[in-house]
Subunit: 116 residues, 2 copies
DNA sequence: ATAATACGTCGTAAGTTTGCGACATAGATA
DNA sequence: TATCTATGTCGCAAACTTACGACGTATTAT
C-alpha cells in the first residue's frame, strides 16, 4: 500500500482492499482458478502452466500465501499448493456485503444524468 | 499492471484483475461506500471526508472513473460524483462467479493438510 | 557419496502507485 | 470587472510491484 496512509481507514476497508489487491493481477487470478480446477492439489509446476518464469510465479504464490488464501504443504521433494476454501468463502461474503451496499443507493443510470 | 505480461492471460482474468485493482486501496473502497451512503450524489468535497489531500482524492476518483465505476456530472460550479450501479452489479456477478468457482473445488481444511 | 530434481532466496532493473504542493481554469458573485 | 470558490492539471519524490537470472538448499535416486 505504497506510501500509505492506510491507518486512517477502517479495518474493514483495509481488509477489503488487501484482498482485492491479492486479486489485482491476472496471474494471481489464474493461479486461483488453476488450483480450483484441479481435483488434487497441485505441486509447484504451476509455473509450467503460466506464461511467467518460475521465480515470478513463486512470488505471486507467496503473496497469496501471505493472506492465507492458499496453503503450501511440503511433501518430500514437491510442494502441494491448494486453496483455503474456508477463507475464500469468508472473503466472498465480505465482497458480497460491499457490493450489495454499493449497488443499493442512489446512482446514475447507464447514460442519463443523476438528479443532483 | 506493472511491467505487465498481461496479454498472455484471458480477457476474463484481466478484467477481474482490473476491477480488483480498483478496489485495492482503502481510499477507493471508502469513496465507493461514501457515494453509496449519501442519498444525493456528492461533489468534490469527498476530500473533506477522507484523510487525504484533495489532489490525491481526485486521483483516486479518476481511477474509478476510468473504469466507469463512478460518473461525474458538472453542475455549475460543483461536480456530482455518483456510482454506476449497473456496472457495479455486473462486476458483482463476475466476482460471484469467480468465488463460486474457487470455493467449489478441492481444498485444505482450516488447519489440516490436504490429501495430496 | 554424487548427481539430479524441485523449491526457495537474493539482488536488481524497470515500471507503476501514492501523495502532495503549486499552478491553471472556469463558473458565480459582489 | 475583480474576486472568490470549486475543480482540474502538472511535476516530482518516495515507496511498491513485477519480472527474471543466478545462486542456495534439501530430498530423492544412482
Amino acid at each position: 500500500m505504497t506510501h500509505a496512509k492506510t491507518a486512517a481507514f477502517t479495518e474493514e476497508q483495509q481488509h477489503l482492499a488487501r484482498v482485492a489487491k491479492a486479486l489485482a493481477h491476472p496471474a494471481r487470478v489464474a493461479i486461483i482458478q488453476l488450483l480450483a480446477s484441479k481435483q488434487t492439489c497441485i505441486s509447484g509446476d504451476i509455473a509450467a502452466e503460466l506464461p511467467l518464469s518460475r521465480t515470478t510465479v513463486f512470488q505471486h504464490l507467496q503473496e497469496l500465501k501471505a493472506l492465507d488464501l492458499i496453503r503450501g504443504e511440503i511433501d518430500g521433494l514437491t510442494v502441494c499448493y491448494c486453496l483455503n476454501t474456508a477463507l475464500l468463502q469468508q472473503v466472498y461474503q465480505q465482497f458480497t456485503a460491499f457490493f450489495i451496499e454499493a449497488t443499493a443507493g442512489a446512482a446514475c443510470g447507464p447514460d442519463e444524468a443523476c438528479g443532483c
